[in-house]
Symmetry: C2
Subunit: 342 residues, 2 copies
């Protein structure tokens, strides 16, 4: 019932081979013929059967995006950047999320995707993660976001430098006990975490400041988690006078915890976030801003380039970071105030 290439061939008075070549813009087709074929295809409202085309050509015509989460701010943003680039290409975008480890019955992406994609786009996932590492066996081009790996394209920011910048800012404000709200206990499948931890530690070490486990707490990259983490730290013997949260969302939770304890962010405890979430402006949060959509877009472009030029050497691009200073960070108040009560 649906049109086939044969119908077009007959109608245009050429062979199916010519139709195929004409429609795909291959060389060695007379411009006149090509145009005629185009017109016929247009008139008959013909589109090639992707299944047949893929079977015959051996190309899958799709790329997979593998992400730990879909609903969270950062990932949605990155995904959006990816989609904007891909929608203009011929490729289908297959979405596959890893999900929480708690979701036991998840089918690992590499199983679901075998033989059906031409390349992978992996967001924030450590390349050794179970279900991710198998991807590299397929020998297809891979563009990594927030991670690196031999032979893969990658796009990201300098997480170490970002974290360092955040912590340095706090140090410059006179803070000496600087807390960290991290994601999950290491090791995690979520990669940037390690680097932000390194940046945090290095900044402290450089300034001869204490790096204590007592100054750290996990916030699981959620608002609630951030709130709990801050609360935990406040309950400890020597609470920090400033904290660096690995994500804005956790920082939001931290702000809330502070308020719940009658403390004013900035004045009593300084907080720096990481991401550049729109909400940070509204909550007056100092944060490290990363160009999230662009990260996604650039990664998608890299993958397209890899697909177009299979021999080309992978590039790694690092996008710039900036810090936006707002009211949540301020000069450390004198000792007596800080260490006083609690």
């Amino acid at each position: 019932m649906a049109m086939t290439i044969r119908d077009i061939a007959r109608e245009a008075g050429v062979s199916t081979a010519t139709v195929s070549r004409a429609l795909r813009g291959l060389p060695n087709v007379d411009p006149v013929t090509r145009e005629r074929v185009r017109q016929v295809a247009e008139r008959l409202d013909y589109v090639v059967s992707p299944a047949a085309s893929r079977l015959a050509s051996g190309r899958a015509g799709s790329i997979a995006v593998i992400t730990p989460y879909i609903a969270r701010w950062y990932f949605g943003r990155v995904l959006s950047g990816i989609e904007k680039v891909l929608q203009a290409s011929e490729l289908d975008l297959l979405l596959s999320s890893i999900g929480d480890p708690s979701e036991t019955h998840r089918v690992p992406p590499h199983r679901k995707l075998r033989r059906r994609v031409d390349g992978f786009l992996v967001i924030s996932l450590s390349t050794e993660t179970e279900g991710v590492s198998e991807i590299f066996e397929a020998d297809l081009p891979v563009a990594l976001i927030d991670t690196q790996r031999e032979g893969c394209w990658s796009v990201g920011i300098d997480d170490v430098a970002g974290a360092r910048m955040a912590v340095q800012h706090l140090i410059n404000l006179g803070h000496e006990r600087i807390g960290l709200i991290s994601g999950r206990p290491l090791p995690t499948p979520f990669r940037p975490e390690e680097n932000r931890w390194i940046g945090y530690r290095d900044a402290l070490l450089d300034a001869n400041l204490a790096v204590e486990t007592d100054l750290e707490a996990c916030g699981h990259f959620t608002i609630e988690g951030g709130e709990r983490a801050m609360t935990t730290m406040l309950a400890r013997p020597h609470p920090p006078t400033a904290v660096f949260a690995m994500s804005d969302e956790m920082a939001f939770g931290a702000l809330r915890s502070l308020r719940a304890h009658g403390l004013q962010p900035g004045r009593d405890v300084s907080v720096v976030g990481f991401d550049g979430h729109e909400m940070s402006e509204h909550l007056d949060l100092t944060t490290i801003v990363q160009p999230v959509e662009e990260i996604g877009a650039r990664a998608a472009q890299s993958l397209l380039e890899a697909l177009d030029h299979p021999t080309r050497e992978p590039h790694q691009v690092t996008l710039p970071l900036s810090m936006v200073v707002r009211g949540s960070t301020a000069l450390r108040r004198s000792r007596t105030h800080d260490d006083g009560d609690r």
Copy 2:
């Protein structure tokens, strides 16, 4: 190089037809044979070629999700619910976003998706939207989220009732001038908007309260937009003492605008949002909570059902709403206070 069904057939000592049937769980295969085939396939790490399978069977093996946005809270959430259901199925999830009208070069989804999906999942998009309406011509099953249409499955909430509940709450608190922060000027491709507007209007009419264009402003479903809308309303001759925002994000902006004007949400101006965004708790925002992930999940289930039982009559499911009252809404203060200055 890659395994084919023939390799498995040879190795298992059966025909390709039997392999096909065995692997897909079709009847009329001896359990012993089936198991043997399974083992061989497993051992040789064989997976069927989707392209070949699709070509031969005529099924596309994918469903498309069509959404206006990916990065925004509501859509990410819904998408996440969809993905959770679909990942357990055999179907690929093709993601396609409509994007803003400003992005002129977007390829309309129905063009990109022709012949490559078995069904559609459409989020929040009015069925007459350009690029969406063409989808129904394909005669494939469609599950609609937040919309209805003859012959389609649908899942959503009662937007009219939700808006009404919000506004009624404000009325109960004694408010008489109740503002509305809507999305875009109607008509919009984003469907729930109309119904929330109706709920708003009806609640006011029932209470014999004014419905004035002066009490409305567009917030474009963004934080900034919400902020601008609130600011606009505050600048008018008779500002409202309470506002209903069609989304939490716009409500967040409204809260911010109030604070910027030295007004305290709740005490000076009451605000109700819509969605149940996590952040609403942190900003102490009263809101109408909808089960967002579940909406996505249920819609995906509906589509799977439609695919499994092509003759089954479409269902429409309406999920329950609830209101969470927080500090952003409070009894209206006496006239003198309200209408006094400004």
